[in-house]
Symmetry: D2
Subunit: 351 residues, 4 copies
Amino acid sequence: MINAAIIGATGYAGAELVRILARHKEVDIKYLCSKSYEGQNYADIFCNIRNIIDKECSKDDIEAMAEECDVIFTATPQGYLNSILTEDILEKAKVIDLSADYRIKDVSTYEKWYGIKHGSPKLINEAVYGLCEKNREDIKKARLIANPGCYPTCSYLSIAPALEHGFIEPKSVIIDAKSGTSGAGRGAKVANLFCEVNESIKPYGLPNHRHTPEIEEQLSYAAKEEVMLNFSPHLVPMMRGILVTAYGDLKQRADGSYPTEGEIRDAYEKAYENERFVRFLDEGVLPETRWVRGSNMADVNVVYDDRTKRLIMTGVIDNITKGAAGQAVQNMNLMFGFDEASGLDLIPAVP
Amino acid sequence: MINAAIIGATGYAGAELVRILARHKEVDIKYLCSKSYEGQNYADIFCNIRNIIDKECSKDDIEAMAEECDVIFTATPQGYLNSILTEDILEKAKVIDLSADYRIKDVSTYEKWYGIKHGSPKLINEAVYGLCEKNREDIKKARLIANPGCYPTCSYLSIAPALEHGFIEPKSVIIDAKSGTSGAGRGAKVANLFCEVNESIKPYGLPNHRHTPEIEEQLSYAAKEEVMLNFSPHLVPMMRGILVTAYGDLKQRADGSYPTEGEIRDAYEKAYENERFVRFLDEGVLPETRWVRGSNMADVNVVYDDRTKRLIMTGVIDNITKGAAGQAVQNMNLMFGFDEASGLDLIPAVP
Amino acid sequence: MINAAIIGATGYAGAELVRILARHKEVDIKYLCSKSYEGQNYADIFCNIRNIIDKECSKDDIEAMAEECDVIFTATPQGYLNSILTEDILEKAKVIDLSADYRIKDVSTYEKWYGIKHGSPKLINEAVYGLCEKNREDIKKARLIANPGCYPTCSYLSIAPALEHGFIEPKSVIIDAKSGTSGAGRGAKVANLFCEVNESIKPYGLPNHRHTPEIEEQLSYAAKEEVMLNFSPHLVPMMRGILVTAYGDLKQRADGSYPTEGEIRDAYEKAYENERFVRFLDEGVLPETRWVRGSNMADVNVVYDDRTKRLIMTGVIDNITKGAAGQAVQNMNLMFGFDEASGLDLIPAVP
Amino acid sequence: MINAAIIGATGYAGAELVRILARHKEVDIKYLCSKSYEGQNYADIFCNIRNIIDKECSKDDIEAMAEECDVIFTATPQGYLNSILTEDILEKAKVIDLSADYRIKDVSTYEKWYGIKHGSPKLINEAVYGLCEKNREDIKKARLIANPGCYPTCSYLSIAPALEHGFIEPKSVIIDAKSGTSGAGRGAKVANLFCEVNESIKPYGLPNHRHTPEIEEQLSYAAKEEVMLNFSPHLVPMMRGILVTAYGDLKQRADGSYPTEGEIRDAYEKAYENERFVRFLDEGVLPETRWVRGSNMADVNVVYDDRTKRLIMTGVIDNITKGAAGQAVQNMNLMFGFDEASGLDLIPAVP
């Protein structure tokens, strides 16, 4: 049994952490921190947890919490954790950061895209990018996890195998992504009101959304060369879910041939055959966000277009679960030697 | 470990049974029966269950299944089970019926409101009305459960304590209920298309919805006198959830006084203090369907109107879970001596 | 051609006024006032109006505007207009107020329910309650219109004929109302975010919502006796639309008989036969908000329950149109001698 | 005043024709034809039109109607019109076909992609592709209009100027499109139920959706060379609206330079400066479907990505209005010499 603290517990990712950890047999939630709701009972804000958790929202004194807790989750705005995290804290507690603060290895890239001065650049190198399917072994040994962004997680799982095997041209990749509104957070903004979001779809952040460098960095590791791509997110009138539809030109070989559909499907099949949270779908079956909603699953498939010589790579996750809190718990499970799926036996409620 | 069969597994209640039982540690799903999808892999229809359950939809040979199974759930149209159920089947397997076939004790009332000739009226008497909070002890001993309707469950939990204690006039009760669209089933009907349901609300079935006699019968037991009421259901553009807003005139006592708010709150508090699936909310907190979505919980509260001398009784459940499949599993747990909450530790995903 | 100003033009009712008046052949929109967006182009905020209206949001200097405008619409928070309106302004321009400031004749009732000190109580008496179907002749002569609330409009049109003819007991009336989210306004509040509203329904403001005294006052005029009722509003996950489901006990006559369904239907038929914006539906047809969405229509019907001796009165309007801006324009048309339906030939888009 | 008939009046495009024509000052709706609802009053099915149009659904005897009507709209399934249309009919009445029957000039392409034998191939050549912004002069003289598909309309308006001016590589075009559910029609299918569509997004028809050859043909005219592209449609949980996000590689010139953002914006500006139904948005403003909902407008913009040397072309329309019925009326207006915008002064209701 370990003790956990959640900083930023009243955002959507924080609330999802609570939902998952409340049923996790190895974890005791010790602190729920929230600046906006300090002193209020958490279950009065997120009433889904009524009678299940009875705890007041507290201050986020990270140093004090590090003394009492084995793991600290930070679901906080960009720039917050990097301004307070220290070597001293990491010696006492493991930290899983759901913000972008330690995701990008090049500090100047982080500072440029986020417009924030990084407060603890020395820790960046130590941080392990917590995409479990990719960095499982490093995660097990890590003290500090940079929990991946929702779009990067979905993009990576959909595209990486094609790049790893050189099936597509790295410079041809275009990611057209669609996200539910919870991705925009729980802040009180006119743009996220029901009456502004419902019955409409829009692109946003074109052409330079902040998740772009994170996706490029991770896919560059997969391609073993620099990947520069277009990433176009869209806001969809639904609460949860991300769909990635990505496009890549099939890479012609020296002999003029193209990788075949069979080869590509085999590679994806193999990439995910032992993964418990990634399902590579049958040929012709396209992913839908509803089949993963509220779960830690990713559904992935590829469509081979012989006519245009392009590969269409598609994937879905729940942005709050596999794209944030679920993956954070998966990381925690790895770090503490629990079963990787512990607490994550979440089956989507349909409808 | 017991073996279970689900007849009508590809409706929404059937799919919810699958979702719940797939995680139930004491149950093995042996048969998933569906006329419409016979021979297809269940996970190709409800892909939320991909990699979790791998089973073909089969015929619903109830007699053969009774040999192999300990419990049979029937999530079938009205009139189906009563035409095939026999004493012989019940000797071999316990049956939990999610249709209305055995809910109403008076067979002529059933036949009038449903327009169906009952095929096994002799079994009606034996059937236990499976509202766990009310009939727990009888359920433990039952072979045949009439699993309550979604509206009746929510109505009963909201209103019964007020009637049991004589706080309101039985003849004054009005139930204004609102339901998500899953209550209309998974049949291919124009009226239930996204474009017909979305962005609209409507009443339906006024003034004689089929759940009326079931509600009246159960509330009459609570009031210990005949209750005749108005029940007005409405269709809401959401998938899951039922909200009941019920009205009753406070019953004046011989001395001219009225029951006080404190008395009423105490009675409700007491009624539900030991219930694991009913939460009587704090004064002033009104129920919202989102806080119970996907779970087996019922949230209930009352509002005392001193001005009009009326009691407003409100309650919410998830119509597919506590209103159907969840309650069915709760019944099963009681019948087989499992922990009443086994498999039902479902926390609503928010948002 | 008259000149119009809209104060509070960037709320939902204000935007609806713009949408309607932009196509009104007799009206020129002179000023669009908005505190929050002063100096910005209106079409950059409400882009539906791009290329149609090109005007900057301005300050709301009501005295200056009264010089230039024939009519001023105020879609402002409660208490704002009553603090600035003067006899002098009314001598220059007609004012149609969409707030509650002049709706309630008894100033102490207003001050109690709204918790606001009324700043111009002398003008209350002059104000005409702008329910066109009821006060048409007075409206034609008015300088100051108290444009009715959305819930009161829908409630009145649904219930008044039954009270006027003494078909139901005034003290038995219960109004269970359901509204889309636009009724909650365009303010940046967490409670109105997409992720908080969607896929849920809840009651709010029980038992003392502010529209109660307005509804009671108007229905008392209809009943010619004091009406005290329960009014229970609910928030529905849709953008526009109000549905009222109201209940009244049939009033027994001296001879023991009850009013018949035929009598009641005849009275409603007659009440609305010459109305262009009220449709009394055929027997058995229940109103749905989608059939009036975006239009100035009200659909009304009654259900006669012989079993419980109750009348169920149902009605729907679009809360922003007939419940606010549409009715305001209808009032303007009457006040200036235009065709009552001018600019209001809005047919709901379906779906 | 002309007489019009609508065949297929009870589908969503048919209903939108009714909504628009009901307010059109030059048109009298003579016939509303519907196989499924023959003999029923149209306003009992589409109740938005109650009290506005009082007409029974009739048989679609196109020859008889051609005698009495000036224009016949066919909103019918693919293959229906081409099996019954004759030279004789066209001599008597103009026909505007909302199906795909006459959109594709090469009959074998039509037959291959639609799997239908074309019944009147001789008429294909005469048919004018009714994209008003492109073929205005030909439309004025036409007897038979092939009203464009919703996706092709939105794609063409978004992409054509870039291809016409050679700004992008024709072979690099990728169209990622997102549509509301009304595009799937009003048929009773499980896949289109509220509970199957809501809270989910999915791609469909990859990589060979039927609109592909139509889009390729029209964009080839614009590029003056053959365009082969990827077209990926997605189903969004909303009722109306199409968003196109298209990608094209900037075409390098002989001197190594690329077209500049300024050049491209100028070309788009010019292309649409005189168009009443296309708005080229300000730099940095991205289109949202809500701003065109229920109207005949198209909002278009481009995003220039200097980093990846790609042009992102975005556009939105309402799929039922500009994407079907609105454009059909725009065509009719041109054909009969009415003002092009007659009956189309539809301002989106927001929210």
